[in-house]
Each structure stands twice: as structure tokens, then as C-alpha cells.
Symmetry: C2
Subunit: 472 residues, 2 copies
């Protein structure tokens, strides 16, 4: 499409190009220091003439947003941060940067599909219970709607959580539970309390990508151990304990993210014996527990919260918009984390949000809702696995529950390349290496079976049909 428009329309085209660049800066699709698309290429993308792009880039440069380097194009202006959140060593491919995936998923427009994201679509969530909870809360006592509330978090939700723990055989007192604004913040609080820069932390390979992002904030050394279908490889786990003396091990129980693996009782027991022998503290993240068909062995239950700290949230089966997480651990630790949370947040989650969570969990419809989600996911996993097989993509294992399939790509295909190609067609994928501290999962991809409408399959088929050398 050519610019054959008058000066007014020309001006608004320039504004459009400027706005498109600003949007990319805001969503970090373009990061500080990065080169802007070439004039010619971006003119093609925007359907405008190169002179319009030149005008837009010049104006952004005049505003100080970007800077021209003669002979080499335009670059995003940006100071070097004091805290470098990226991996050390050589600059990674942007498609394997965890932040890139998080922000592409969180900040995606309505047109973007997200088979790479970590949550269920909104219409899979218990909307009726949530809306009833909001209407109930509109009649709550004044204090509940206006005050900070207890430093440990609203007692009603803590009682519900303590009851859940007791049902699993984990009897804990009210001083063993702290509510927080999220599962991530639960881990962050524990890390702030336990870790010092330079400490070593053990994680699974692959593991939830944000564990790595979070640990980088704490400036610790990350050591990873391969994860098998039944838990971490215990021989390598033992060797890592002996060699690296890690302070902490962070893992997912119930349904491992991204693999969908599940601890066996034997692995859980042996792991705890090893942890005891090496004075290792364990964070067990049970974020996906509600999606399990039946409860699998839990480190926290076996250990009785002596060296295992349990964390979780309500984001996967209730609402990610409530933002409420928890930590269960020894009362000494909980007391210290409570002070830490008062110092850094003057309290925990939104008491209003925590009450909504408590009300929705107590709603008569919630248990049925979760059972329905499990059945629906079970069907969706089978259907997705079959369609993936048609594309030459095979699940590493067939999980007992949850919404993830961790898959081998066809021989020779690179997940980061495919993800970049899919993003050009507004589909966010989750390439294997964002989960792999050792960067050994370039041939893997994590799919969220609840987030794959027809167009996602079309784009996936399309990017797979292109020869590998076309990407890059």
C-alpha cells in the first residue's frame, strides 16, 4: 500500500508508526539498546511508505526515545540497569528470555493467541462463584472493606487453608500460615529471608521459567538437575548436593511445570533423606495441585514442614485476578517472613481479594467446578496430543492432569525459531529453553491445551511447514 495521501493523512500515518513503536517499547518487544526494524522492513509491516517511517523515527529520535547511529540504524535509548535481570554470559536469544514470554502473554492484545501462557481462559474459571462472592462482599462489615487487617492475612482464608492441609494429613497451627499477594511473592519472601548473593540454589531442568527470573534477582548461582517422570534424577540430585552445597531447592509438586511429571512416594522419601543429610531447605510449589485427579505424594506432608516450605496460590483454578498466595512453614520462619512482608509491603494480599477467594472456595459450586475443569482438561489433553502427533510433535509424557503438554518437536526443529515465526502471526508459544537452565531443551515446546483455538493450530502447522532456514 502506497502513501498517495495529502499532508494531513501523511501526518496521521506518521503518528501511527510512532505509536506502533511506542507500543513495542511499552511491551518490551523492543528493549533498551535494541536496534529498531529497518526503515524498509517496518514500512512493509505498517503498509506505509519508507519516508513515513523515516519521519516517525526522526521524531522519536528528537523526543529522545530512540537514537540514530550513523550507518547502522536506530536504537532504543536506555540506561544500563543497576540490576541486570538477564542471564549472565553471552546475550541470549530474545525468544528464550523468560521476561519476553511473560510480558508477551500478560500484555497480549485481544487478537493474540497464547498457547504458551500459564493459565486457563477466563470462561473456564468459576465466574458464578466469583460474582456471588463480590455481591456478598458488597454487604460485608465496614472494617473488612477498609482496613489493612491482620499481618498474617485474613483469618477466614487461613482457616480454609489449614483445613485443606489437615485433610492431607498435615496438621498445622494458625501461626504456620502466611498469606501473600501471590505464589511468586511467597517464593520471593522465602528467598529474601534465606538467601545471600552467591548462594547456590537447585532447580529442576526443565523448571518453571520464572523461578530463574526470580533467582536472578537474588544474585544466586542456579544449579539444575534433570527432572524425570517421577521427580528429579536422584543420583544427579545427590551429586549436586555433594558438589555444590545448595542452600535451597525449589520445585513444583503435584503436576510439575512444564513436564507434568509427578513425584512417586519413593522419590519423595529419598529426596527428603538427602535433604536432611545435607541440611537443604526445600520450597515445594503446589500451584497446580487442585488440577490433580488424586493427590500425589507431597514433600511438605511427608516432612511435616520441618525443612519443606509449602507455597501456592489460587490463580489456576479460581482467579488470577484475585492475586493471593500463601506460605506454610515452621512458625519461626513464618514470624520472620511476616516482619519481612510488613517491612516491604505493610501486609500481605488485598484483604478484599482474599475474602473473595475465601467466599468462592466456600461456595457450594466450587468443588463441582474444579471437577468439571479436570474432566474438560482430560479431554483437551487427549485431543491436543492427537493433533500434535499429526504435526510430528509428541508429548514427553502424558500427564495425569493439568493443562500442559511438554513436547518433543520434530527432529531438527528449533523451538525458539518457531516461536519467533509464530509471534509474527500473533501467537505466543513457550519454547523449551526458557524452562531449561542448562539450555538443553531447544527441541521442546510447552503447550497449554486450554489455550489452543483453531487459529493456533493453523499457525502452528504453518510455521512448521516453512523450512527451518526461513526462520532466524
Amino acid at each position: 500500500m502506497k502513501d498517495t495521501l495529502g499532508p494531513m493523512a501523511q501526518g496521521s500515518r506518521t503518528a501511527e508508526v510512532m505509536e506502533a513503536i511506542r507500543r513495542r517499547l511499552a511491551t518490551r518487544a523492543l528493549a533498551p539498546g535494541e536496534r529498531l526494524p529497518s526503515i524498509r522492513r517496518f514500512a512493509g509491516v505498517m503498509g506505509v511508505s519508507p519516508s513515513t517511517v523515516v519521519e516517525a523515527y526522526d521524531r522519536l529520535a528528537a523526543e529522545g526515545v530512540i537514537r540514530s547511529r550513523p550507518g547502522s540504524g536506530f536504537y532504543v535509548v536506555g540506561v544500563a540497569p543497576s540490576l541486570d535481570l538477564r542471564a549472565p554470559g553471552p546475550q541470549r536469544d530474545r525468544a528464550v528470555d523468560p521476561f519476553w514470554v511473560s510480558r508477551q502473554s500478560l500484555d497480549a492484545g485481544a487478537e493474540v493467541l497464547k498457547p504458551g501462557c500459564g493459565w486457563l481462559p477466563p470462561d473456564w474459571m468459576p465466574q458464578t462463584a466469583l460474582r456471588r462472592a463480590l455481591r456478598q462482599l458488597a454487604r460485608a462489615p465496614d472494617a473488612l472493606l477498609a482496613e489493612y487487617g491482620s499481618s498474617l492475612g485474613p483469618p477466614r482464608l487461613r482457616r480454609i487453608l489449614a483445613r485443606h492441609c489437615a485433610e492431607e494429613g498435615l496438621e498445622i497451627g494458625p501461626d504456620a500460615l502466611l498469606l501473600t499477594p501471590s505464589g511468586s511473592q511467597s517464593i520471593d519472601l522465602v528467598c529474601r529471608y534465606l538467601l545471600r548473593p552467591g548462594d547456590t540454589v537447585l532447580v529442576d531442568d526443565p523448571c518453571y521459567f520464572n523461578f530463574q527470573a526470580l533467582l536472578r534477582v537474588h544474585k544466586v548461582r542456579i544449579v539444575s538437575v534433570p527432572f524425570t517422570a517421577s521427580g528429579p534424577d536422584l543420583d544427579l540430585f545427590a551429586a549436586a548436593l555433594a558438589e555444590h552445597r545448595p542452600r535451597l531447592y525449589i520445585t513444583n509438586s503435584a503436576l510439575h511445570n512444564p513436564t507434568g511429571g509427578t513425584l512417586t512416594a519413593q522419590t519423595a522419601h529419598r529426596l527428603l533423606v538427602l535433604a536432611g543429610a545435607h541440611d537443604l531447605t526445600v520450597i515445594e510449589d503446589e500451584t497446580f495441585a487442585a488440577l490433580e485427579p488424586e493427590p500425589s505424594p507431597r514433600l511438605a506432608v511427608l516432612d511435616g514442614l520441618e525443612r519443606v516450605i509449602r507455597i501456592g496460590s489460587f490463580s489456576k483454578t479460581l482467579s488470577a485476578a484475585a492475586r493471593c498466595g500463601y506460605v506454610a512453614g515452621p512458625p519461626d520462619l513464618i514470624a520472620a517472613l511476616t516482619d519481612l512482608q510488613v517491612a516491604t509491603n505493610f501486609g500481605g494480599p488485598s484483604p478484599i481479594a482474599a475474602e473473595i477467594v475465601a467466599a468462592a472456595l466456600s461456595d457450594g459450586s466450587y468443588r463441582k467446578h474444579v471437577e468439571g475443569v479436570r474432566r474438560r482438561l482430560s479431554r483437551a489433553r487427549k485431543e491436543a496430543a492427537a493433533r500434535l502427533a499429526d504435526l510430528g510433535i509428541t508429548p514427553w509424557l502424558m500427564p495425569r492432569g493439568g493443562f500442559y503438554l511438554w513436547c518433543h518437536l520434530p527432529e531438527g526443529r528449533d523451538a525458539a525459531d518457531l516461536s519467533r515465526a509464530a509471534l509474527r502471526e500473533t501467537v505466543v508459544l513457550a519454547p523449551g529453553n526458557i524452562f531449561s537452565p542448562a539450555q538443553t531443551a531447544a527441541g521442546f515446546m510447552r503447550f497449554n491445551v486450554s489455550q489452543m483455538p483453531e487459529r493456533a493450530w493453523q499457525v502452528l502447522a504453518h510455521v512448521l511447514a516453512e523450512p527451518p532456514d526461513r526462520h532466524g
Copy 2:
């Protein structure tokens, strides 16, 4: 009262004593490492025989909660934390420990009065607007109730904030604003990004006590400058910049906490010139801004968010139960803080809570509500000042707005002593030295005029009537 009861009743008395100790541990009235009250003293407090207390202490020791040190009594068991949140140097008096005050206020039972706390009573808050907002939200689109939402926070609230900034003459783009779970967390995020252990940070003396608690988490050196009625003492401020080369200055604008002082235009301008000359970054906390009768000079507006970072929340005039804060700053910084917040919290405030805040702020009744609160506070300040004068307590200045009076106690009276005595009568006060990094405010007390029902005055009169040597 003597124990002349049978073995059953004796057993339940022991359980009561154990419960009383547990409660003190849970609220940190007794902290790890601390000595328990003597057998004889606690028997008096509880109205039981010493043998009952011995039995209770022995059982708690058998449970591993406390430990006996022969010849020196019982101590709370507790590991030395890796992260020591208390002030360095000699152990401070517990009544001047900021955590003690925060947690006594946050975790106070219904019977406890809190003239020392930092918020308005629930019935002063816009309950009608909050309840209307909850009912509106019960009809919101599915995605809003279930999804994480944008990494910068819900756009609706960010637009409202940007409009407020524009009304003050601070034009900012949407990429200059990040929503967070609280004002404290806003400061914490900036500190995590900018500070390194061992850096020096400048604060006012006196200043909001939680600034100190938060800075201790960051292991930085705290240097304080005396605060005058018109802002920090600029000569001493300049000297501190030259001598200590601080990386950051954290202050309250609008209505300074605890003094109620207000920056003059001249002080604000000179302060920024000094900051520029020493490459100092400033965090301006405008938490109390809505309570000002007219806006006072703001560093962020004068500076145009070049080296001043604005933070705030909605806890003082809307709801502390929503838990929503913000940071306004240079887009580069905001982008980095956004990544940091994704890494440590996978997003910002509860989107549900942020929508409630947005809806309540947009409610037709909100502006009138705030005007009403200001008028009511103006009366309450005058009345409280008059009654305090009767007790020999005089405000350091009469603030233009807000709910605090920072007061001189009668000659020779110690605020920590009086606070301990008042706490025995279930009234939480805020003794001066918790606000004073230099510990020069033992003769000051901060009163919240909105939290002083008749019994608070009686207890205050009563503890003042006791001779000073009775406390301790």
C-alpha cells in the same frame, strides 16, 4: 487469686497460660531469643499460682517452643535469622521497634484502641462507593475477574492516575506508570532496582518508621537529616550529600509523616538543585496528598520525573483493604521495575482490587467524601490539640491537613515508657523514637486524631498521671 481448684481446672489453667504465651509469640510481643516473663510475674499477670506457670512453661519447653537456661529463666526458641531486620548495634527497647508498633496495630483485637496507627477508622472511608464498586464488578467481563491482566496494571486505573498527574501539571505517558500491590512495595521495588548493600540512603528525621524497616531489608546505611516545618534542613541536607554521597533520598511530600510539615516552593527547588549537583535520586511518597486542603509544592512536578520517582497508594482516603499502590517515573525505570515485578510477583496489584479502586475513585460521591473527611479531620485536629494541651502535650506544629499530630510530651516524660504503660491498658501509641533514625525523639509522640475515642484519652491521662519511675 489462688489456685484452689481440682486437677481438671488446674489443667485448663495451665492450658490458658500456655495459650497466653503462644498468643504473645504469634503477635511477636515475645520474639525469638527473648526471655519470658518470670514465673512469679506471669503468675500475677494471669492470676494463677506460680506452680501453674511452671507447669505451663515446662510443657512449652517439652514442645520445643521455649527453652530453659538454668539459673536464668525461660527463653523463646528461635534460629538466628539470616536476615536481621532489627537495627544494628545494641538491642533497642522493644517499644521503639517499628515492627512491634506495626504488628500491634495490624493484629490488634477489637478491644484495642490505636491512636498510634496510620489509618482512618473504617466508618470514615467511602463505604457507599466501595460497595457500589463491588456490585459493579460483579457484572464485569469474565477476563477482568479471572486473568492476570497487563504487567503494568489495569489500564483504567492507570488512566485515572495519569489524569490526576496532568491536573497537577505533570504530563506523563502511559509507560511512566506502574501499579503495584502497595505504596511500600513501590518503594521496595525501586530500592531493589537502585540499591546495593552498603549504599547510603538519606531520610528525614523524624520519618515514617517503615522506611527504616524497609531500608534495613536492603542492608543499606541510613543517614538522616532533621526535618523542619518547611522540609528538610537544607544546610544539613547539603552537608550530608557532600559527606555521605547517598544514592537515594526518601521523603513524604504533601503532609509529612509524622510531623505534618509541608515543603515550601523554595525548599523544593533548592533541594532539587542539590540533588542534581550530587546525582541523587529521590523517592517522593505522596500517600497523604488527598488529605491536603490545597496541593503544596511537589518535587515530582517540579522535576518532571527526571530524578524524582513518585510513589503513592489509595490506603488513606479510599481503602487499605484494596492494597494498590503506584510508581511514576522515567519510562526506562518503569520498564525495568515491570520486569522486576514480573520476576518477583508475576504482576502487580490484584486486578480485582485495582478495578474497585478505579470504580470508587470515579464514583460521583468520592470527591465529596474526601472533602468531608478533610473538614472532619480539621475539627478533630483542633479538638485533639486542645485536649492534649490540657495534658501538657503540645503539637510541634499545627498541620494543614491529615490525621497526625506530632507532639512534645511534658518535660521529662519518655514516650516509650508511656507507650508500654498504655499497651498494658490495650492502647497502642506511637512513641517518637520509632520515627527517629538518630533516636532523638524520646520526648515526642505521634497521635492519630481520628483514632482517639474517650477511653484513649482516659488511658493517656492515666499513664501520664503515674510518676515516671513507675514505668519500666
